[in-house]
């Protein structure tokens, strides 16, 4: 294991465990390294601290041999990049973090081929050759610059194959501009495709509008995704919906989107928006939690019957809990993941194109000092609001772009959702162990 750049100690008084309940009884979550145990006997109400000696908890919270200590600040090789290939979009969603691709002027032009090629070269040279490598496409609407996508994919696939690398591809798209040859590309190269769609026709056209006088985006999307949804081939296609405070009918939106052929759908709450806009406020979070738990419950019921899970948020949470995912970072931003702007600048995150705090260098070289500072600052032990939270290695502080909107209420939502997922995990691990890993017996 690489020696860490630095170590940032957490609070010694931070909670090391949490007791939670499921239909099976009581469970123990050891917070560092997210270890889940069954507690077969009843503990005496609040007296958890008495029932569980501190020494036992501390021993269980210890880092095992194959695990990375949670106070390490690690600097992995960049393994995954997204290319912001387009500076424009045919839709004009009010909540767009990229201002339709221009990033408020920071990205005036689409990405030229030389920049894309240089970024791919840099990625393939520096990445861990034995781990998967990902090239993603974002924008604006990436398929506005379809020629570049096609060229970049062929190039990265060929170069990767020459060097024996495992290259994966992904794209987030509004789904309205897909042509047959694009769909062929997605199938052939086993893309992970995320289609942004907010719900049925009404809410889709409302939240994701086309220019005045044109056909609604729902109809466009429906037509353009027919081929892909009818025959995804080897592509993995998922729908992603933004939830604004104006509508919490998540169950209905879920069913509507699945009904047009998506096999999987997830929700993301709108948090950063213009003042007075539709971002969720303190009073909205409990409603959101209720709505999302409702979707979760109905999917759980299906899974108990042996059906596959279609709800991305829940599926991801279950898988992570099974593994014992535990990280001081909420994502790979600045670590294994970077986003490349059209001018060749490398950013820690695709939502921060143009922001100097997140600029980490360019195709020529990463600014290692800038990067290290970023990684230090974003470690969960550096977040004062997070230090005493039991969910600190599961939530890990949340999206860097949403930190400014953090409130107790938004954090309560996160913990509430995690409690639901923890209980769901324990129950499913008993009635459907094969869901997690064929041959598992708990």
């Amino acid at each position: 294991m690489r020696a860490p750049l630095a170590m940032i100690a957490g609070d010694t008084s931070a909670p090391l465990f949490k007791i939670f309940r499921s239909a099976l009884g009581e469970h123990l979550l050891i917070v560092p390294h997210s270890r889940i145990f069954d507690l077969p006997h009843e503990t005496n109400g609040d007296g958890d601290a008495q029932a569980l000696p501190a020494s036992l908890v501390a021993a269980l919270a210890d880092t095992a041999n194959s695990e990375v200590p949670l106070d390490y600040v690690v600097e992995p090789a960049p393994q995954s990049i997204s290319l912001n290939v387009s500076s424009s979009c045919n839709l004009s969603c009010a909540y767009c973090y990229a201002a339709r691709g221009s990033f408020q002027g920071a990205q005036p032009d689409p990405m030229p081929w030389e920049v894309a090629r240089a970024a791919i070269d840099k990625l393939l040279c520096g990445a861990e050759p034995l781990s998967p490598i990902t090239v993603g496409f974002l924008g604006g609407e990436p398929f506005v610059n379809r020629r570049l996508i096609h060229r970049a994919v062929e190039y990265a696939a060929e170069e990767g194959s020459k060097r024996g690398l495992d290259v994966h591809f992904s794209v987030t798209t509004n789904g309205t501009l897909l042509q047959e040859e694009d769909v062929e590309l997605l199938r052939k190269h086993r893309f992970a495709v995320t289609v942004s769609i907010d719900g049925g026709e009404q809410i889709q056209d409302l939240q994701r509008p086309t220019p005045e006088g044109r056909k609604g985006s729902y109809e466009l999307l429906f037509g353009a995704t027919r081929s892909l949804l009818g025959n995804p081939g080897l592509a993995q296609v998922a729908a992603r919906s933004t939830v604004a405070r104006s509508d919490f009918n998540l169950r209905e939106r879920f069913e509507k989107v699945l009904s047009i052929g998506f096999l999987e759908m997830g929700f993301a709450p709108l948090r950063a928006a213009k003042p007075g806009g539709d971002a969720l406020r303190d009073e909205d979070w409990p409603r959101y939690l209720e709505a999302i738990v409702e979707v979760g419950q109905s999917e759980l019921e299906r899974v108990r019957q042996g059906e596959p899970i279609r709800f991305t948020n829940l599926a991801v949470a279950l898988k992570q809990l099974y593994r014992g995912a535990s990280s001081p970072y909420p994502c790979g931003a600045g670590g294994g993941y970077f986003s490349v702007a059209a001018n060749g600048d490398w950013y820690a995150c695709h939502r921060a194109i143009g922001s100097s705090t997140f600029r980490m260098g360019n195709n020529a070289a990463l600014d290692l000092y800038q990067r290290r500072e970023f990684l230090r600052a974003r470690h969960v032990h550096s977040q004062s609001a997070c230090r005493q939270c039991w969910a600190r290695y599961l939530c890990s502080g949340g999206c860097h772009q949403e930190v400014s909107t953090r409130t107790d209420s938004s954090c309560d939502f996160v913990r509430g959702w995690l409690e639901f997922c923890l209980a769901a995990y324990c129950e499913l691990s008993v009635c459907r162990p094969e869901f997690f890993n064929p041959g598992t017996r708990f």
Partner: protein, 565 residues
Amino acid sequence: MSQQPPIKLIPRNVAALRRGQQPADGALLVPGNPVSTRLESGVGNCFPGLECDLRNLERRFFPFLEVDIQDTEVDVISVDLAGVQESASNGEISADTATTYRQISSGLSQGRRWTISQMRGTFGPLGGQALVIADLRLPSTGANRLPPDAWTAIRLLTEGTEVELTFRQGNTTRSIVGNRARYLDDNGALAKMFLPGELTQSLCSPWTHDFRDCACFYWASNHPDIALPVLPTPPSVTPEINTYVPWERKDRTVNTLPDPATINAPVELSHYEINTQWQTLNFVLEGRETVAPYQPGKFTAPKFASLAELLTNLRYAAGVELAVIHEYLAASYSLKVTGVPAAAQDDVNAARAELMRVAYGEMRHVRAVNDVLRALDPAAFVPALRVASQVPASQPGTFRPVVSRPATPETIQAFIDIESPSVSVDGLYSRILATLEDLGPDETQQTVRSIMADGESHFETFSFVQEWLNKHSPAEYLTNPSTVGAPANNALHQKLQQEYIAVLERLFNGYTLGIPAGAADINTARNVMLGPSGLDGAAEALAAAGFLVAFDRIADARFAPVNHP
């Protein structure tokens, strides 16, 4: 405070399992062979092995030295100077010894050649000896014998005992006394002196190089040393095509028949040539090199028209077996038991034993054919124990009378003819087998197949017998080259006939009852055949009296001769 009851935790995810499995200061898992790997369970030997080359264990038999061992030379390859230094500073070795080590090491680094010229030590069961390495050679026999070569000598040295080595470089000699190193330390692990990778640095290259010289015959099953040569086109049946040739021979032309494998030091592909020309080695199918696309043998014998015809021919086949038993027994008993010249003794004994062995085989065939008959028509089964009056001759479709004769060269040739592949008896069974493919259960086909396979091996056996006996004159190995049957009233002859009929009757009862009811009778028949008071004894007595062992025609309808269909 009272003792808290133990807290039970059941892991419910992977992270919980991980932690539960490792104690706080658990052992670090090192990548490498599993902990259960043992030196003795590997495919390691001295030729050189597939997992470890055991010869490499001896390279560090002496403290601080690495050596390379050939038959009559031991070269020093390197000296562990750091170890020498440490040992010297601990006082474990004397300053003089350390100097000698350094001298050797310095010489090696200048490209000079240091060898071990003499060795004094305790060589295991050979006891304490002082050897000159260059003098070691085969044979190594008798009391006070020396080890046959350097490696064996080193291998024999008892662990931990004192060894004195004399080193030579040019005209300079030096000596060092030390203890022969241990292979394993007290924990059963390889002694630290072995570096990682040392035991596997010289393994077999399975595909090419080493099977040319594989001395442990590991590869013989799929990389034969010898094989039958390619069949010439057009096919011809000569003795040469059934003589083994070296499979790795250098001459790869197909049209000329290669030299047989019996010649000494055949010219074979060299190691390097094998590496580059391995693809010219021919496929070997059914023991024979094959260059044409493989055609599994097709069965072209004409089938019998009906079950009835098949049964008739089966009964005849049983009769043929009995007939050849008569002939083979007559031949076997006609060979001298005593009074054979010394030079011929082994050949005569072998010939007699082989003829008997073939006769036993035919007796098993009688049983096998009866089993097939029973399987085909259980309700109407009557044992087939009627000897054939005539047996198939060498030309298909022709027959000859059954004649008991002494084992003259003509007789042996007749035996070869009768067992010759694809003619005579084989031809009879071929038609039976072809018919059984339609009519018979699978077992019967297998039975007939094995009878035919036996026939091939009998053919080979008689060829050997011919080869052995042809080295001598018939007078040397036959009691009476022109022996004839005894007169009818001869007591010994009559005894033989009675014994024979007794056997047949037992078999008839046993076969009629079937298995398991008839097992007792069949076993009795077997026992009655053997021993001085049985068939064997009667035959020996008759032969010793100078008469031919022959069997009379039996009137009993169950055993009377049967004609060919």
